[in-house]
């Protein structure tokens, strides 16, 4: 099976929802997916922030319209999208341990299905074995 490694750094909900739909397309196409959330993106893996619809600055002034369109498409719930991807395919979601420390997050703060992983292991195992690497 082809393998995809994804590095998510941006923490806006719109960017991560786009990434989640890409993951869904990938697992639907029988790709193995490994995702490494780092920097501000780890916030969105926390129970406290996962459901916040924090849109990028470019959407300023259009937040309610964009939020309504995302909801209409069922794309307004990032944990649900990530959970669906894990349910149907070979997907593992990793939170960067050092980014978690910077953000003050503990393992118990994370949403279900997320594992804590170090950058070295991700680079040497997941990136090294991937057919493609994408960044968000």
């Amino acid at each position: 099976m082809k393998r995809l490694a994804i590095i998510a750094s941006r923490g806006s909900a719109n960017s991560l929802v786009q990434m989640a739909t890409l993951i869904l397309a990938a697992v639907g196409s029988e790709l193995v997916v490994r995702v490494f959330f780092r920097d501000e993106a780890v916030w969105k893996l926390s129970k406290a922030h996962a459901h916040e619809l924090n849109l990028s600055e470019v959407y300023r002034g259009h937040e309610s319209d964009v939020a309504a369109r995302l909801a209409a498409q069922g794309l307004d719930d990032l944990p649900r999208l990530l959970g669906e991807a894990r349910e149907v395919g070979d997907v593992r979601l990793y939170a960067c341990s050092s980014s978690m420390a910077i953000c003050g997050l503990r393992p118990e703060d994370l949403i279900e299905g997320v594992e804590v992983r170090g950058l070295t292991a991700f680079l040497l195992e997941d990136v090294a074995s991937a057919d493609r690497v994408l960044t968000f």
Partner: protein, 99 residues
């Protein structure tokens, strides 16, 4: 019925075993619904997929190439709600039984 873009320019609609309704869905949502449905389709069974997403024209052939299923072709149908529908036909790979 006549099809374009796939392996079989003519197909008897009676061969269709399963219909997947992806109207109103976009992008990965269509692929996921198709993938889930295919799990229950017998080997070599023909699936008809109805989509309102214009991206379906290229998504399904690409999905078939990657998964070993066969893209038989598609046709467009006018629709009062969606404007146009893409109706695609896919034959499930012969070596994969329902799960």
């Amino acid at each position: 019925m006549e099809l374009v873009g796939g392996e079989e320019p003519r197909l008897d609609e009676a061969a269709v075993a399963t219909v997947v309704d992806c109207r109103g869905l976009l992008c990965a949502q269509c692929i996921l619904r198709l993938m889930r449905t295919m799990l229950g389709v017998p080997a070599s069974g023909v699936v008809k997929v109805i989509s309102s997403d214009p991206a379906a024209e290229h998504d399904y052939p690409a999905w078939c190439r990657n998964t070993g299923n066969r893209f038989l072709g598609h046709r467009h149908e006018p629709d009062p709600r969606w404007g146009a529908l893409m109706v695609s036909f896919i034959r499930k790979r012969a070596d994969q039984s329902p799960s």
